[in-house]
């Protein structure tokens, strides 16, 4: 498919780039929208989940007989109700994560689940399940887990990509390396070398809607599942795999999703609900409590990093050496690979080495979190770059501009960059008044940049023209932040009808073709391109129908502003609405479907500047101003693009300043609630200024790049660099909480 040939990114648009009210908005401001926990079915039971109180323990026995006999209890499931783990290692990990088998691997790991008439009965029954544990020693961070004497979590884990392969199992799942040139030569050429070590803590995506699933399993062995997820097709695949079922036995209906940020691309409750419902013969709903969300779902990795960068006095980076170890949680699969690929991607570099380790610890299995891994590696690299720039006496933007990649440069992770807009983001910051705003005492300014690949993957869209001249646009991509609006805008642009005449629908797994998850910033790009292509098929069909009526060839008809007209003007134009009304006489229903594996993903860059003040008496940081410039390629609905930019920044500020998982010596999480795991609130933040840079992606019909993720890459370093400037000392461990900053101020030499 040659999308690029259709591209004329400079053309004027009627709908693309406008800001209409989103089609699903009315339901969402009136309380009508149904999220995961909102569905009620007749006879529905309430499920509850028993979780391990231990970070690492052998499960010696489970006795559910008392619980089963309790009032209102209709079904109980344990590991014995699911197939023995089978299939690929990553599949077995999901099977074991959803329901513990031989061992509980983290505090919060599922041991059993119950369905009862009421919530209170279900909870009471959990207390009656007798579990005998043999508590094992646990490891909670990469340093402990990588020590020679460390307790080994999985006795079959042999580190991958080490030559020769180790003979003994360890907690290191794999090693990744990207390198080029000669490090020694590069550092020898440097006039300035800075080396630092950093640590970051696990942080949670923090979506406000807890995970929820409803399942109705019928006696024919099929089940309908309603859940809030970033991709119901993926939920179907994973859930059927855990159950050992053919996927066709499951129908998954998407609920509205109350935030995901990567954390709802995976399953937790769905297989439990299906089996509980099957055993009880009634529908079952399970909703996580907030503490379960923290203890058992998603965080992203805590990490340790070492970054060494050298540069010449003219600002040219000569060498970079990055070492990283990421916590994966209890199963292999941290985002250290993506962190390695993105770490140095914004810069032209000949001599570099990036070595990463994926390390298991007794914490929940990490899940994707917005540009997974990139904020962590970028934190280390952009912090060191800041110091290098200062040492060579360059403005941090000029320094980055001097080394920035552009079209045709080879990325440190391999490929050559196509059209990209990194330098444009740097320039946008430099040109903005925030960058020269005056700073007072104890105030500092920090700059950082970031890169994210973005994803394409698979999408299907169906467009149906209704008799009244409107269009229904059906996709299978859950709308997590306004994508229905962008689908409608692109369809309106293609069809030439008013955007309010477009009804975008997110359909279930049996109603539309396959769509991958809403992730990788891919929906407006990939699903959007499928919508555009389906609309183009419709337009071709409409032109052909009009041509037939006029008895001319279809190629003698053009489509202008929602009307077919003969190129020679020999007939009056006929509108989409008129053609739609006559569909029965012109060839039947007007409908088109387009499926593709989207290629030509547009890489995304962001540059940000943070101004903040450090209170020297308390260590508290107040963010004064924040500016983000990001290349969106083309903003389809600019308000929702700005929203993505602002949301990423806010999460990044939380990560930098406050958020962290705190575990006690027993490996038990001590802050599993929003009171103690403090995400930014309205009074913590200023307005977040945005500049949408538009360097169109030639591979998308409108030039779209994904916008969702890259915005969270720079804030950790931008904030840390600003704190370093304001407090006149650099703190390399996140979060930069008041305690840590005050400690650094009080205990510094000078």
């Amino acid at each position: 498919m040659a999308l690029a040939e259709d591209t004329n990114p400079m053309q004027g648009f009627k709908w693309v780039g406008s800001r209409p009210i989103r089609p699903d908005g009315f339901d969402k401001v009136t309380g009508r929208a149904k999220f995961g926990a909102d569905l009620v079915l007749p006879g529905m039971l309430t499920g509850a989940v028993l979780r391990s109180p231990h970070a690492h323990a052998e499960i010696v026995s489970i006795d559910t007989s008392d619980a089963e006999a309790m009032p209102g209890v209709k079904s109980v499931v344990t590991g014995a109700d699911f197939p023995e783990p089978y299939g690929k290692p990553a599949e077995q990990d999901v099977q074991r994560n959803v329901m513990a088998r031989e061992k509980a691997l983290y505090e919060g790991h599922v041991i059993a689940a119950v369905a009862a008439l009421t919530r209170e009965q279900a909870r009471a029954a959990l207390g009656a399940i007798k579990v005998t544990y043999k508590v094992l020693p646990h490891v909670m961070n990469v340093t402990e887990a990588m020590a020679d004497s460390a307790v080994v979590i999985h006795d079959n884990m042999i580190t991958k990509n080490v030559d020769p392969a180790p003979e003994a199992p360890s907690n290191v799942a794999s090693r990744t390396v990207f390198d080029g040139g000669e490090l020694d030569k590069g550092f020898a050429e440097a006039d300035v070398v800075v080396e630092r070590e950093f640590t970051t803590k696990p942080v949670h995506q923090g979506y406000i809607e807890p995970h929820a699933a409803v399942a109705d399993t019928t006696p024919d062995g099929r089940s309908t599942v309603w859940c809030s997820s970033q991709g119901h097709f993926a939920m179907r695949t994973y859930t059927s795999n855990v159950l050992g079922w053919d996927a066709s036995r499951l129908k998954v209906i998407p609920a509205e999703i109350g935030g995901g940020f990567g954390g709802k691309t995976v399953i937790y409750l769905e297989p439990l609900a299906v089996r509980l419902s099957q055993k009880a013969g009634r529908p079952v709903r399970i909703v996580m409590d907030r503490d379960e969300v923290f203890r058992a779902s998603g965080p992203t990795s805590g990490a340790s990093l070492r970054v060494k960068i050298g540069a010449k006095n003219d600002g040219t980076i000569t060498a970079a050496d990055v070492w990283m170890a990421f916590e994966a949680g209890a199963f292999a699969g941290s985002p250290v690979g993506a962190a390695s690929m993105t770490a140095l991607a914004p810069y032209k570099l000949e001599n570099f080495k990036i070595e990463g380790f994926d390390v298991v610890v007794n914490k929940p299995k990490v899940a994707a979190y917005r540009a997974p891994g990139a904020p962590i590696s970028s934190f280390g690299v952009e912090s060191v770059l800041d110091e290098v720039a200062t040492k060579v006496g360059m403005d941090p933007i000029d320094f980055r501009m001097h080394n920035a990649v552009e079209q045709g440069d080879t990325a440190t992770y391999g490929p050559k960059f196509p059209v990209i807009g990194f330098k444009e983001t740097l320039q946008a910051i430099k040109d903005h008044p925030n960058y020269t705003a005056e700073l007072g005492p104890n105030q500092g300014r920090g700059v950082a940049s970031g890169f994210w690949f973005n994803a394409g993957m698979n999408s299907t869209a169906t467009v149906n023209i209704n008799d009244d001249g409107t269009a229904t646009v059906v996709t299978g991509s859950p709308d997590i932040g306004g994508s229905r609006a962008s689908m409608a805008l692109m369809a309106a642009e293609e069809l030439g009808i008013d955007v309010v005449s477009i009804k975008p629908v997110v359909a279930d797994t049996e109603t539309v073709g396959f769509n991958d998850v809403t992730g990788g910033s891919r929906v407006t790009l990939a699903t959007g391109a499928a919508v555009v292509e389906a609309c183009r098929i419709i337009v071709a069909d409409l032109k052909a129908r009009a041509a037939k009526g006029w008895d001319i060839e279809a190629d003698q008809v053009e489509w202008v502003d929602g009307r077919a007209q003969p190129i020679d003007g020999s007939q009056p134009a006929v509108s989409l609405a008129e053609l739609a009304k006559n569909w029965g006489r012109t060839g039947g229903p007007i409908s088109a479907t387009y499926s593709h594996n989207a290629r030509g993903v547009g890489a995304a860059f962001s540059t940000q500047v943070c101004d903040l003040e450090v209170d020297p008496d308390t260590g508290r940081v107040t963010v004064l101003r924040y500016l983000t410039a990001q290349d969106a390629g083309r903003a389809i609905h600019p308000s929702y693009v700005e929203g993505q930019l602002q949301g990423g920044v806010a999460q990044g500020i939380g990560w930098a300043l406050n958020e962290e998982y705190i575990h006690n010596d027993d490996g038990v999480m001590e802050n599993p609630g929003f009171l103690d795991y403090r995400i930014p609130v309205a009074s913590d933040l200023p307005m977040i200024d945005t500049v949408i840079v538009e360097v169109p992606n030639p591979a998308h019909p409108y030039g779209v790049r994904g916008v969702g993720e890259v915005g969270i890459v720079p804030p950790l370093a931008a904030v840390a660099n600003a704190v370093a400037a304001a407090a006149d000392r650099r703190i390399t461990d996140l979060p930069l909480s008041p305690v840590r900053i005050l400690d650094a101020i009080l205990n510094s030499e000078d």
Binding site: R19, I21, R22, D24, G25, F26, K28, V29, T30, G31, R32, A33, K34, F35, A37, D38, V40, R119, E120, Q205, Y207, I208, E209, P210, E256, I257, G258, G259, G260, F261, V287, D289, R290, I480, G481, G482, H637, S639, Y640, E642, G643, Q644, Q646, G647, G648, V649, A650, Q651, G673, F674, L675, I679, P680, V681, A682, S683, D684, L685, M687, I688
Partner: protein, 158 residues
Amino acid sequence: MTKIHVTSEINGDEVEFLTEPNVSLLNALRDEVGLTGVKEGCGTGDCGACSVLLNDELNAACLVFAPEADGAEILTVEGLSDGDHLHPLQQCFLEGAALQCGICTPGFLVAAKALLDKNPDPTETEIRYALAGNLCRCTGYDKIIRAVQDAAAQMQEA
């Protein structure tokens, strides 16, 4: 457990429901009354998703026992609009793209109404502090604050 009979005026209607004494107003509104626009983000008073007005005062419904609502007036997001006429806050949230996923929106709308009822012309700082009990993970609050400012301006004019 014997159920307790509760009568409240919810969104202008007299509503009766039965509840056990230890059930939160949040769960009663969602499960017994069917008002699922009231959301649960935490159940511990930390996120504001369950914000309701109880006798015109802003409350986290998850921290109120359902029987405490006997005889009370309750306003939830479902009662904000006047028939099919949206409240200015709802309209400004839509026009200003002040929601992304929308799970926090009902709570923000109710909390913002509570603010504007008492302080029709708040400063940005006053809005930020008045809404500090409502968590939004998607928007970074910028567009929410602006939407409340816009609604306040519109209501002042009206």
